[in-house]
Assembly symmetry: D2
Amino acid sequence: MTASTLSASQVQQYLADIFPQFDASIVHLDKEGAILELATDVRHLRPGGTVSGPTMMALADAAMYVAILGNIGKVALAVTTNLNINFYRKPAPGKLRAEARILKMGARLAVGDVLLYSEGVDQSVAHVTITYSIPTQ
Amino acid sequence: MTASTLSASQVQQYLADIFPQFDASIVHLDKEGAILELATDVRHLRPGGTVSGPTMMALADAAMYVAILGNIGKVALAVTTNLNINFYRKPAPGKLRAEARILKMGARLAVGDVLLYSEGVDQSVAHVTITYSIPTQ
Amino acid sequence: MTASTLSASQVQQYLADIFPQFDASIVHLDKEGAILELATDVRHLRPGGTVSGPTMMALADAAMYVAILGNIGKVALAVTTNLNINFYRKPAPGKLRAEARILKMGARLAVGDVLLYSEGVDQSVAHVTITYSIPTQ
Amino acid sequence: MTASTLSASQVQQYLADIFPQFDASIVHLDKEGAILELATDVRHLRPGGTVSGPTMMALADAAMYVAILGNIGKVALAVTTNLNINFYRKPAPGKLRAEARILKMGARLAVGDVLLYSEGVDQSVAHVTITYSIPTQ
């Protein structure tokens, strides 16, 4: 674990500025990855009381973006080009946690994967791989 | 094109009952696929004015679900197990259209893909492949 | 359908030069896509007599590469960055056909999808989405 | 790490019986995953001397299959339904290692991911997520 280029609170503030609707908390950030938590509420649930798929995808995508910011600093224009998600356990309501790790931080593409967890449950509920395209500086 | 098992209006009504927040319109439905449209508003946009990734994933997932309902009738418990999306053009604000086609309607798994379009633009903005697990009857 | 930048026979010759082990036939090529066929033999089969997964992935990847060459001309250094395949029907022995279409031919990334078919069967056996990274000229 | 249901040598022998062409070595196996190594030779390389994509996909798929066998015992008919691979570093010739972990061992579907490594290099070269369909007993 190497210290990140930006701190968790710097990234949290930066995202609050550019994505006012960003409502997840960055609970850990280093050069290799990030952990985010989201307190889900009724807007994030679907019938049956499980967390919705789009909520999980959005949190995973945000976690990867935070990990990239932590690794290389502010790159507002980085965009997701590919996201692949496997849903395999029911996510309980309550906090949803995303643990993102960077697999490759390239000059043009960043690749990582994210495990999603429901609060208080050891086993992950979904796995996500994400590629971001990094703009040429 | 074979007529669907349920009509577009039957599926629209069914979804309104079980997913009150479902806000897309089914504009076409047959045995091989479905076309849905979503009138995006500020809730669906991200900074820069493009439609957000989660909005695109949610509409694609709904389109595949509608296509399955049209093919085999009401299966409320069908769940998405895998979703893979490639984002490759900026989706303009305005209507977002999803064209889903069923590739395989199996006894246990349904596989399909979805092309997403911005209103008034010929080329697609994203491509999605989706697998649903079908509960044993 | 716009004529391709290189003809099918030009690409076939080019691949024979740089990939001597390339053993598929280009049966169609235009600006939007390519169709390849592979006469499978015992090397491509797995126990049970179906075509192996790696054979299907290799043919799909080749079909997308041919489609890119047909669209933009010789780019020997284009590399696959992502490949996602859904296998959903058993591929019979005999000819395997790959129909690739280009979804986006960007300056840095090319995205397409490929349907795979067994000879004489109308329904596809697998669907593949592929992203290639295009080197800066 | 819980002991696997079958030992590494039992699975190695089983695969030698049913897949005579299986040429990778199982170097570790427990209930949560498997590690396989393949000594690549000229058949596995592509122009430029890197290990070919189909070789990487085949080894990853085999590693996941071994992990499933180690977890639940002999299930000859388990079949791959989805494979998603991100290639992000050049795999050097020499030994290729696959580290598979099981994310969910369900009654109908098994989901896992695999990291691929070149011998003597710390960073992974590719990441793969794989879903197997498990036949009803």
